[in-house]
């Protein structure tokens, strides 16, 4: 298939997946036992009020009509209204999203860099102490429950390194009207522990992924050819194995984004970090379905988009696709 065919295919796939996510979103929330009007939402409401609310929320129409309305609203960027504060959902999502992304990016970058480093060394030195210990360390970090690791960092590390363990910035700092540098440092200090939490957990997974992908590549025939040509082991790893392994590694990294996004929810609740994860967490407790729905949609679409980017990246990396 030609290059443009591939791009079209992947774009179509991404778009369809977004639709599937939207539909899933719709089904889950509207197919819930009871609807938005029953249960704790409206314990003391009168019958008329309930009927009116139903009408307003469009719940008196058939499921299919509701679906169509839902899609239309989405197309206009309307994500409904929060049960809690009766404000539109959509604007409430962007601020927290902007807080979450740098935090996740920092942690993920750390884990990718170090994961690749240790994974490559482990595969290169297969069977030696380096390999075995890398695998054990990787497994160890992978097995730690994210939220618990966050708690551990707060309990043990924060006091040791005098890092803040809550929020995104020091509330008192703002009163002193600091320059951009101290404000940035403050932000970073608040980001360190949450990023470290996701970084460490994902590092464990990545080191195992990279090692496994490298080992697979090292079993390919062209590696034997390279060795026969007289290349040194490290040169082969660098010029052939790593380059080729980046293909499956990239795929697997992007596949783990879903988990990272989930991890954000756990981490932000532990660290009281005002990102989209915390928003979701609060919404779950408050049973604020529209916010939950909106946050879920944003998170899902982000991951789908990231995977789409990965597909395009793959296209650049692998010459076989442009055949």
């Amino acid at each position: 298939m030609t290059g443009s065919d591939y791009i079209i295919k992947r774009t179509a796939f991404a778009v369809v997946t977004v639709f599937v996510a939207i539909t899933l979103n719709f089904i889950i929330f509207r197919a819930a036992p009871g609807d938005a009007v029953t249960g704790e939402r409206c314990r003391n409401c009168t019958k008329e009020f309930k009927a009116n609310l139903r009408k307003e929320l469009g719940l008196d129409k058939s499921k299919w009509e509701q679906y169509v309305i839902y899609i239309k609203q989405l197309a206009h960027g309307d994500l409904g209204y929060s049960f809690e504060d009766k404000q539109p959902v959509a604007p409430q999502l962007w601020g927290p999203l902007k807080n979450t992304l740098p935090m996740l990016a920092l942690g993920t970058a750390f884990s990718i860099v170090f994961g690749i480093l240790t994974g490559v060394v482990a595969a290169w030195r297969r069977g030696t102490f380096w390999d075995r210990s890398s695998v054990l360390v990787g497994l160890g970090f992978y097995s730690l429950p994210t939220q618990w690791l966050g708690l551990m960092l707060i309990f043990f590390v924060a006091p040791m390194l005098s890092l803040p363990s809550s929020g995104i910035s020091d509330p008192f700092l703002e009163f002193t009207d600091p320059g951009w540098w101290p404000a940035l440092v403050d932000r970073l200090k608040h980001m360190v522990l949450p990023s470290a939490t996701i970084g460490l957990v994902i590092y464990g997974e990545y080191t195992l992924i990279v090692r496994s992908a490298m080992l697979e590549t090292l079993g390919e025939d062209y590696i034997l050819t390279a060795r026969a040509k007289g290349l040194a082991t490290w040169t082969i790893v660098r010029k052939h194995a790593l380059r080729n392994s980046m293909l499956p590694i990239t795929t697997l990294i992007f596949l783990s984004l879903g988990y990272i996004v989930g991890g954000a929810i756990l981490i932000e609740s532990v660290f009281n970090y005002p990102g989209i994860g915390l928003l979701t967490y609060d919404a779950v407790f408050a049973k604020d379905y529209p916010i939950m729905q909106g946050a879920f949609l944003v998170l899902t679409v982000s991951v789908i988009f990231a995977n789409y980017v990965a597909d395009l990246l793959y296209f650049r990396l692998d010459p076989r696709i442009t055949e």
């Binding site: 025939d221 007289g230 692998d318």
Partner: protein, 326 residues
């Protein structure tokens, strides 16, 4: 024979197996290769021929142990294992692998991969290397502007030619070819063989051709060795092996090759080769041989000289053995 350019002297290769056992894959293989000679190494799959040539270049995994000598122009390059054999790779001995289809890295251009050993061994680089790559490609019959293409853009036959070009990059003295024409269709096979033959003529290149395809050996090789269960059981001029084999296995191998025009049934050699993880008593071929007699199951036959460089390891060639039996 003129001074051999490459000699294997009593080469052994063992592979570690779990539970402290070993697989004795190559058992005392010896042969010599003269410059410009085409030498065939024949046998069933699993008989150790591929391991033998990998061993000549030291391309063995850490689970392997090696004994014996590999003598390149008088020097034992296996004297200190990896460190003494590695410097000779590609510069003196090069290889084309079975299934050269996969011998190329799919994400790099053919040209880059051919130039690579030249750069690594300090022979040439940059533009000079590109020049040379072009020359090599033309030598094997590929137009030089294809150097910037990727392996998947080449057909099977062309990839094999490119692999040959790559093998010649550092002007080696010996070329080891492992099943170079398997998985290619017949027309292409003929072309590749022709190419290999002309290279040995034009460049004085010595070649070891590993194959299970007997007609190929008969066509292309001057001399050949037949391997069975890790040992060479017969060695000599190809003509002699065909018309006057000294070992039942050789005879049966040639007989088992279907002749396109022959109406008679294909004879088969029933059974399979023995396991190599345990000591074999007597002749390894005895269980499948059609002419065994008394000494065969218990006494291991050594290679006997049958004249004019023809050797075979079979008790049937030993008058003393035959006398004792009857």
């Amino acid at each position: 024979m003129t001074a051999p350019v490459l000699e294997a002297r009593d080469l052994h290769v063992w592979f570690d197996l779990p539970d402290d056992r070993e697989l004795h894959a190559v058992q005392g293989v010896s042969f010599g290769l003269a410059p410009g000679e085409r030498f065939g190494l024949v046998g069933e799959s699993g008989c150790g021929k591929t391991t033998t040539i990998l061993g000549l270049m030291g391309l063995l995994p850490p689970t392997a142990s090696v004994a014996g000598q590999v003598v390149l122009e008088g020097e034992n390059i296996m004297a200190r294992g990896e460190s003494s054999v590695a410097p000779h790779r590609w510069k003196d001995i090069a290889m084309i692998f079975q299934g050269a289809m996969n011998a190329f890295n799919p994400v790099k251009t053919i040209g880059d991969q051919i130039a690579e050993p030249m750069e690594v061994h300090g022979i040439s680089e940059g533009d000079a290397a590109r020049q040379r790559v072009g020359e090599l490609l033309e030598m094997v019959g590929i137009s030089r502007d294809r150097a910037d293409r990727y392996p998947h853009e080449f057909s099977g036959g062309m990839r094999q030619r490119a692999a040959i070009a790559m093998a010649l990059a550092c002007e080696p003295k010996v070329l080891l070819a492992d099943e170079p024409t398997t998985a290619l269709d017949v027309m292409v096979q003929a072309q590749i063989l022709q190419l290999l033959v002309s290279l040995t003529h034009d460049l004085g290149l010595a070649m070891v051709l590993v194959t299970h395809d007997l007609p190929l050996v008969a066509q292309v090789c001057n001399r050949a060795a037949v391997m069975y269960a890790g040992e060479i059981v017969e060695q000599g001029e190809t003509e002699t092996l065909y018309h006057d084999p000294g070992h039942p296995y050789t005879r049966l191998l040639f007989a088992a090759t279907p002749d396109l025009y022959d109406e008679s049934n294909v004879t088969s050699i029933p059974g399979g080769p023995p396991r190599l993880d345990r000591e074999i008593a007597g002749c390894p071929f005895a269980p499948r041989c059609d002419r065994t007699f008394d000494p065969c199951p218990t006494v291991h036959p050594e290679l006997r000289d049958l004249g004019a460089g023809h050797t075979a390891a079979c008790h049937l060639n030993d008058p003393a053995m035959r006398a004792a039996a009857s």
